[in-house]
């Protein structure tokens, strides 16, 4: 036994002294998290559709300077598969009393709140996403592409953000109209439009932020419609707010698009409010209401049409990584007289790997 002790002690003595630095954790060069969500939606006519999304967020760098790539694969309820890269950006951050952040590349959309908070399934309080991101507005220009109120865009561009403890301001220059989505891996895309954004917000108390932004740029290129002989422009104004306290989180966004067409200026507007209430460590309830008003352009006239929707969700957190949600959604789209009802169940898995 004593011999065994000596041999173990010898091995211990052979161990090289360890540098002090090895005793401290260092920020990881690589950061990866992944999310996967599957949802099954059934309407009251018995139609069932399954959606699937998988993504990974990969960051390489050090605090202050990182390269971020966000590849995504989605299977829509229609059965169509889409693969894309939503973000591929180089980000510089300098913290301080007046912090500075600079993004360049394929950047996260600088416009609006929905683009900021719900695009990943584990961050979205409900199962579906706001209609303003995807629902095409009624035709504004005869036989021309239909815009969205404020699309889920991932523009090529650059954005600078400065902020203090109670305020933030940003400016961005990008190649994509927020009304028309571009996908970098798509074979067909809308034209590029130089688009400028300025925005900012105040945080009067912790947990409450009020923000606004103005975006200006083209949305329709000459030749995209039989009557379109010059680039048409749009101005998008957003007002957004987030409030959170204790177990309650509420966020809302109002958008107003002033859209130029060959028949004159049209205005589309919309808003949504969604919230989440933690009921117990594992249980939460969430919901969203939304509305979009947009004109339907006829030969010489236009009539207002509305989209309205409401969604209610009950969620259960099986583990910190896994969440099950069930929900009900009622939506009345543009020109429809009645609501469509859907029941949905969703399983969301998210994991931070390093």
């Amino acid at each position: 036994m004593r011999r065994h002790l000596l041999s173990v002690a010898s091995v211990a003595c052979l161990a090289a002294p360890l540098p002090v630095a090895a005793q401290e954790a260092r920020p990881s060069v690589l950061a990866i998290d992944t999310a996967a969500a599957i949802e099954q939606i059934a309407d009251f006519d018995g139609n069932v559709a399954t959606g699937l999304s998988m993504d990974a967020l990969v960051s390489i760098g050090r605090p202050g300077l990182e390269a971020i790539v966000w590849p995504v694969a989605q299977r829509f309820n229609s059965g169509q598969w889409v693969r894309d890269v939503w973000i591929a950006t180089l980000r510089y951050e300098r913290p301080g009393p007046v912090g500075v952040r600079l993004d360049g590349g394929l950047i996260p959309s600088p416009v609006g709140l929905a683009n900021l908070t719900v695009r990943r399934p584990h961050l979205n309080p409900t199962i579906s996403q706001p209609s303003s991101l995807f629902a095409a507005l009624p035709p504004l220009e005869l036989r021309a592409p239909r815009p969205t109120l404020l699309g889920a865009v991932y523009p090529l561009g650059t954005q600078i953000t400065v902020s203090g403890s109670r305020w933030d301001a940003r400016a961005a220059l990008m190649d994509t109209s927020p009304l028309r989505r571009r996908r970098i891996l798509s074979r067909t895309n809308p034209p590029r439009f130089a688009t400028v954004l300025v925005g900012g917000g105040v945080t009067p108390v912790v947990g409450l932020r009020l923000g606004a932004s103005v975006t200006r740029g083209g949305w329709l290129r000459e030749g995209e419609g039989p009557a379109v002989t010059a680039t048409q422009y749009a101005t998008i104004v957003t007002i957004e707010s987030e409030f959170a306290f204790r177990y309650t989180r509420v966020a809302g966004e109002w958008v107003r698009d002033r859209i130029e067409t060959t028949l004159g200026r049209r205005v589309a507007s919309g808003w949504f409010v969604h919230g989440q209430q933690t009921l117990a460590p594992r249980w939460f309830a969430a919901g969203r209401i939304e509305r979009i008003d947009s004109p339907l352009v006829l030969q010489t006239d236009a009539v207002e049409q509305q989209l309205t929707g409401v969604e209610a969700v009950l969620g259960f957190r099986v583990t910190p990584d896994l969440t099950v949600r069930i929900g009900h959604r009622a939506r009345r789209t543009f020109g429809r007289p009645a609501y469509d009802h859907q029941a949905a169940v969703s399983l969301v898995w998210w994991r931070r790997w390093m």
């Binding site: 036994m1 065994h4 002790l5 173990v8 002690a9 211990a12 161990a15 360890l18 630095a21 090895a22 005793q23 401290e24 954790a25 260092r26 920020p27 990881s28 950061a31 998290d33 967020l57 960051s59 050090r62 605090p63 990182e66 971020i68 966000w70 939503w86 973000i87 980000r91 951050e93 300098r94 913290p95 301080g96 912090g99 996260p108 683009n115 900021l116 695009r119 990943r120 953000t161 400065v162 902020s163 403890s165 933030d168 940003r170 912790v206 947990g207 932020r209 923000g211 959170a244 306290f245 204790r246 177990y247 989180r249 933690t278 117990a280 460590p281 583990t319 910190p320 931070r352 390093m354």
Partner: protein, 229 residues
């Protein structure tokens, strides 16, 4: 003596270099002391903040990392439950970091979670031993959690995915956390063949068996993980 044993679900590398010797007798004649030093043999990486969608504000600078040796818990394995006095401790939320990141307490202890940051955190745990959700509260406020069952409680922030902490709850008094230099002492260890475990959240468990003799101190050093031979 000196046998390495494996344990723990997140084991990355298990074994230990153990030096054992007999030091000067300690005061208590009925019990033994186990003491030693912990060293981390490989660079440990910490999660850093990153997100596709940053908040509209630029975040504050990160807290400078402390000694990783302080995130190791040394404890007597398979000890029978004992009557232990509860303690009061705290895990602060500062610069998007739980400080300390690892805490060891006795059953019945209460842990405060004060928020030192000028923004919200949402501390929660879904561990079987203790699940809770403290909600959001501003700087200067605190919430308290009582831990009534032994085991490991993983703590997270719902808002900041890179934040995590661990509370280890013991129903016996034989556990210790090393100081900045890695030194630890387990007092009052019952004599006999004992298994002593060094736990680290990334490096897993490293367990050694030693003989604790009444009135004596046994020295056992841990290098985590054990270097390849």
């Amino acid at each position: 003596m000196g046998n390495g044993a494996r344990g723990g679900p997140r084991l990355l590398a298990v074994a230990a270099l153990v030096t054992m010797g007999v030091d000067a007798p300690v005061q208590g004649q009925e019990t033994a002391t186990v003491q030693g030093r912990v060293e981390i043999g490989i660079p440990i990486t910490a999660r850093r903040p990153t997100t596709a969608y940053p908040t509209r504000s630029v975040p504050a600078p990160a807290l400078a990392p402390g000694s990783e040796r302080r995130n190791v818990v040394i404890y007597l394995r398979s000890a029978l439950p004992q009557g232990v006095a509860p303690v009061r401790a705290s895990i602060r939320q500062r610069n998007e970091t739980f400080t300390p990141r690892v805490l060891a307490v006795t059953v019945g202890s209460e842990v405060d979670f004060p928020n030192d940051d000028p923004f919200y955190h949402n501390v929660f745990s879904l561990s079987r031993v203790r699940s809770f959700n403290l909600g959001r509260y501003p700087r200067g406020d605190t919430r308290r959690v009582r831990f009534d069952r032994p085991g490991i409680v993983k703590v997270f922030c719902e808002i900041h995915s890179h934040m995590s902490a661990t509370v280890m709850v013991f129903d016996h008094p034989w556990f210790a956390m090393p100081d900045e230099s890695g030194r630890f002492v387990l007092d009052g260890v019952p004599p006999g063949d004992r298994q002593v475990t060094a736990w680290h959240e990334r490096l897993g468990d490293t367990t050694v068996t030693l003989r604790a003799e009444a009135g004596r101190a046994v020295t056992t050093d841990f290098v985590l993980p054990v270097p390849r031979q």
